[in-house]
């Protein structure tokens, strides 16, 4: 099937958003710290050591409670006040640009700032709640960005420093990528995302800047199926896997080399549900039985920058990226995949029934 390169269409060139150039307060993501700890680490490494930026990593920062809020066990008043506490920590650190690494949190911060704009009494109430609970005060941030916005902003600088490009070394053709953007990145507040909700540029801009091609697939904007309570409770997980399967079926005909996501939940689900579908139905979504690797934007940036794939944590995805590394021409040492920080071998993981490793 001929890939449709949607990025050449005029609408995809429209984007807007004020992203700070430097001095960020880092708001970490619970899900990423669990499932993509190396991406959390690499964001800091790329910003600080590759791009020379200042990012403050605060030990006092906690969960925003977002997963609880969107599964309705945390009241709106509570999450507003927890977010206000994060603003207070940011204010205390002398910073005014917040870099949020979770799409759920990002959506929550944007929702709360929008609420405070339209309902100033909610802001006042939150200030009172926070002061009463912690004696803290806070300033509002001057800019708010998702961490993928920041990598997008510096995509050309990253390309200039890169060792590899997203080109198949055997064919000389750009790699074919599909992207999936977390619903809460821009579906609630389109003007807070680069390119809005319908034509977001944030991930496709990175792929193109680093030499790849982005394929438009019909279910590109469909939810990954996390659905909060629909994954958190075991009895509901059919919803989650069914929605992911809908997306996988839609992208399969285009034979993508990889899937790029900017949401921690989506990255985890699209990876892990490929495994579950294979165990349930014996089905895989690439032609050779390996599945389609799902990457975070730091993992992709790290690969083009020549960072060791095992420092990026690619080995803790269920769909392994070895074939992708071979296509790009990245050398790797398989014996170092499952080791500790000193290079000592750890016992190997079990292998799935169908997905080749």
């Amino acid at each position: 099937m001929k890939p449709i390169d949607s990025e050449t269409k005029h609408t995809w060139n429209v984007y807007q958003k004020d992203i700070a150039n430097d001095n960020f307060y880092y708001a970490r993501s619970c899900i990423r710290q669990n499932f993509f700890p190396a991406s959390e680490h690499m964001f800091l490494h790329i910003l600080r050591n590759v791009l020379g930026k200042h990012v403050y990593d605060d030990p006092n920062h906690t969960t925003c409670t977002g997963i609880g809020y969107h599964s309705d066990i945390v009241p709106f008043e509570t999450i507003q006040t927890v977010v206000a506490r994060h603003f207070s920590l940011m204010t205390e650190a002398g910073l005014e640009n917040i870099a949020i690494s979770c799409v759920t949190s990002f959506g929550i911060y944007t929702e709360i700032l929008d609420t405070w704009h339209h309902f100033p009494e909610q802001l006042e109430q939150t200030r009172e709640f926070l002061y009463k609970a912690t004696k803290r005060e806070f300033n509002l941030p001057k800019t708010i960005a998702h961490t993928s916005d920041i990598i997008y902003k510096f995509r050309h600088e990253i390309a200039e420093k890169s060792t590899y490009s997203l080109v198949n070394i055997e064919t000389g053709n750009p790699l074919q990528a599909v992207e999936h953007i977390g619903c809460h990145y821009a579906k609630m507040f389109p003007n807070k995302g680069i390119g809005g909700a319908e034509f977001p540029q944030v991930l496709s801009g990175m792929i193109q800047a680093w030499g790849g091609n982005v394929v438009d697939y019909p279910e590109r904007r469909h939810c990954c199926g996390f659905g909060f309570r629909n994954y958190l409770v075991q009895a509901n997980r059919g919803y989650s896997i069914s929605n992911t399967q809908k997306k996988l079926e839609s992208m399969k005909p285009y034979n993508p080399d990889f899937i790029l996501t900017n949401c921690p939940g989506c990255a985890m689900f699209i990876d892990k549900w490929q495994y579950t579908i294979s165990e349930m139905e014996g089905k895989t979504y690439d032609a050779h039985g390996y599945g389609i690797p799902v990457l975070t934007y730091e993992e992709l940036a790290g690969l083009v920058l020549g960072i060791n794939p095992w420092d990026l944590g690619l080995q803790i995805h269920q769909i392994q990226s070895d074939r992708l590394l071979q296509k790009i021409g990245i050398p790797y040492d398989s014996t170092m995949k499952y080791t500790d920080s000193k290079g000592n071998a750890l016992p190997k993981p079990n292998v799935p029934t169908y997905i080749l490793q």
């Binding site: 809460h184 075991q234 919803y239």
Partner: protein
């Protein structure tokens, strides 16, 4: 005295933001991931609430229907009238819990499982999700690679630049007690703790009605039931 649910809903800013006037176009149903896999239709919810019949709203608060939405908020982008059925759902779920109706539906009862896992994790660890919580036996879909991460937790997280359960900065660092105390104080002042109590109290009553074992810890019969039971009546093709 009868509760005026419309007046209660109007107090929730998410409700006033989420419902202007529905023109019944059905676009939200076409793109809704919940409508695709459940007997669910966001337009019907919006219509019922817009009509303002107190009895019908109470039925909704007791129903399975309000618990299907995945809060993806895709409906917010697409609604030509600027409604957000997902926000309306949030306001309805709040009332369903506030008035103890949530235990009357299979899907509503699951709030107890979420409170026991994510809810308690927030206050005990300072994270919504933590490797200690995502146990492989409760999450077999995470595959053998997650089993491997769990088996080699310390070594793997250290290898990947995290700081699991230790002092200082970094991914999965131990959240200091003073920060957990601030979180707990926020929950106390803003009604978060009260909601946890309501979920516990109403769930305990429901466990008695269903004659299932209940205890303070999540290791009980009622938890296992609400976490795993699916009557398979939620989708008709």
């Amino acid at each position: 005295m009868e509760i005026d649910y419309c007046a209660e809903l109007e107090k929730d800013v998410r409700f006033t933001e989420g419902l202007k006037a529905c023109l019944q176009c059905g676009i939200c149903c076409a793109i809704c991931p919940a409508a695709e896999f459940y007997n669910y239709d966001p337009r019907t919810i919006v219509t019922t609430v817009q009509q303002g019949d107190n009895h019908q709203i109470e039925e909704l608060l007791k129903s399975e229907t309000i618990w299907y939405c995945g809060q993806c908020m895709s409906c917010k982008t697409r609604c030509p009238r600027g409604n957000t059925p997902g926000f309306v759902i949030q306001a309805l779920r709040k009332l369903s819990q506030q008035y103890g109706f949530f235990t009357q539906s299979e899907k509503g009862r699951q709030q107890y499982a979420i409170k026991k896992t994510v809810g308690e994790n927030v206050l005990n660890k300072g994270y919504c999700v933590h490797p200690d919580l995502v146990a492989y036996d409760m999450h077999p879909e995470q595959g053998p690679i997650w089993d491997w991460v769990q088996q080699n937790k310390e070594a793997v997280y250290e290898r990947l630049g995290a700081n699991l359960n230790k002092e200082g900065v970094g991914a999965l660092r131990k959240i200091h007690k003073k920060n957990l105390d601030e979180l707990a104080a926020i929950f106390e002042v803003t009604g978060g703790s009260r909601l946890y109590e309501i979920i516990e109290e109403e769930s305990e009553k429901q466990a008695q009605r269903m004659q299932l074992g209940f205890s303070k810890t999540a290791d009980n019969e009622y938890f296992n039931h609400v976490y795993t039971y699916n009557s398979n009546t939620h989708f008709e093709s």
